[in-house]
């Protein structure tokens, strides 16, 4: 029984000198707590449409797509190659909530039809808050599947001002 040490000796020898490690931890933990980022920042790039963005079927294979999403206090209007689709906003009191899932689903359908397209122009009403703009941009850029996988839809999002002219006709102006 060589491995067994007498009880008394084992008790004395088993104590590790933990106090230096504790001192080290006491310094490291507050330092890391101070430098820790609990909210991580990211960026959303803005896309600037260039003059050669105009649809030209000869340059690219397959049909091209001109996609515009108008964001107004009444809801979202999706205009794809002059085909209109209105997604009305839900209103409860002063709160306006957009059905962004519906928008993403529509865009998924369009992406399947036009796999090469990647640009979308948002026509935004002046009163729309910045937070909503970011959410609509997120809905246009990618769809996050329940598994956490990200499907890229239209990553190049351009912002434009929605101008209502005197005749009540809507037009975009950068």
């Amino acid at each position: 029984m060589a491995g067994v040490t007498p009880r008394r000796v084992q008790k004395r020898g088993s104590d590790l000198p933990l106090i230096p490690i504790m001192s080290l931890f006491l310094i490291l933990v507050p330092m890391l707590l101070l430098t820790a980022e609990f909210e991580r920042a990211a960026v959303v790039d803005l896309f600037l449409p260039s003059s050669d963005m105009a649809p030209s079927e000869s340059k690219e294979k397959g049909p091209s797509l001109t996609l515009t999403v108008a964001v107004t206090p009444d809801g979202l209007t999706l205009i794809a190659n002059r085909k209109k689709k209105v997604i009305k906003a839900k209103k409860s009191g002063n709160e306006v909530s957009y059905e962004l899932d519906k928008l993403t689903d529509e865009l998924v359908k369009l992406k399947k039809k036009y796999p090469r397209a990647g640009e979308v122009v948002l026509l935004i009403d002046g009163e729309i808050p910045y937070d909503t703009i970011i959410q609509v941009m997120d809905a246009c850029r990618e769809k996050i599947l329940p598994t956490g996988e990200r499907v890229t839809l239209f990553p190049n999002v351009a912002l434009a001002d929605r101008v209502v002219t005197k005749e009540g006709k809507k037009s975009g102006q950068k």
């Binding site: 104590d15 933990l18 106090i19 490690i21 504790m22 931890f25 490291l28 933990v29 890391l32 707590l33 430098t35 820790a36 980022e37 609990f38 909210e39 991580r40 920042a41 990211a42 960026v43 959303v44 790039d45 803005l46 600037l48 935004i124 009403d125 002046g126 009163e127 729309i128 808050p129 910045y130 937070d131 703009i133 970011i134 959410q135 941009m137 997120d138 850029r141 990618e142 996050i144 990200r150 912002l159 001002d161």
Partner: protein, 161 residues
């Protein structure tokens, strides 16, 4: 109290050394330490978000690149932490003169630096930190003014969801 002092006396008599039981505290600290080490980013913070700048949340995972920052809170605009305009809402037009002047100065300075330091390349990148409540009619003035200067690579700062 009587009992504990009796115990202490008994221990002293037996020559036993009383030690603190630190093991559980060690366990706790190790867990906290490992958690904080995984949280820390090796690159360090490129962006300091002020407490009074409520940024919007986004699903974007694009990393922050070093750029000139334009922060917009209420009516105040600051460029790289320096306040350049206290009330930009007073401008009726699209162009904010004070912001344009400040950005022009920044561009000039960065170009001067890039002449002597080849590691600094002026790409005209600007990062806009804006309060999530500001309406688009105000935000577009900032975007327009940045576009009128040499800062055309604009991006918006957000927080990861």
């Amino acid at each position: 109290m009587v009992r504990s002092s009796r115990v202490t006396r008994a221990r002293k008599r037996n020559g036993e050394v009383i030690t603190l039981n630190l093991t559980s505290m060690m366990d706790m600290f190790t867990i906290i330490l490992v958690f904080l080490l995984t949280q820390i980013s090796a690159q360090g913070q490129l962006l300091t978000v002020g407490e009074n700048t409520p940024l919007p949340y986004s699903t974007s995972r694009k990393e922050v690149r070093p750029a000139v920052t334009v922060a917009v809170v209420g009516g105040t605009i600051s460029v790289d932490g320096e306040v350049v305009e206290r009330n930009f809402l007073r401008y009726d037009g699209m162009l904010i003169d004070t912001l344009k002047a400040a950005l022009d100065r920044k561009a000039k300075k960065l170009k001067e630096i890039s002449k002597t330091n080849p590691t600094v390349v002026f790409r005209g990148e600007v990062l806009i930190l804006a309060d999530k409540t500001i309406p688009f009619k105000h935000l577009k003035k900032i975007l327009y003014t940045c576009g009128q200067t040499e800062f055309i690579n604009q991006s918006l700062a957000v927080l990861q969801k």
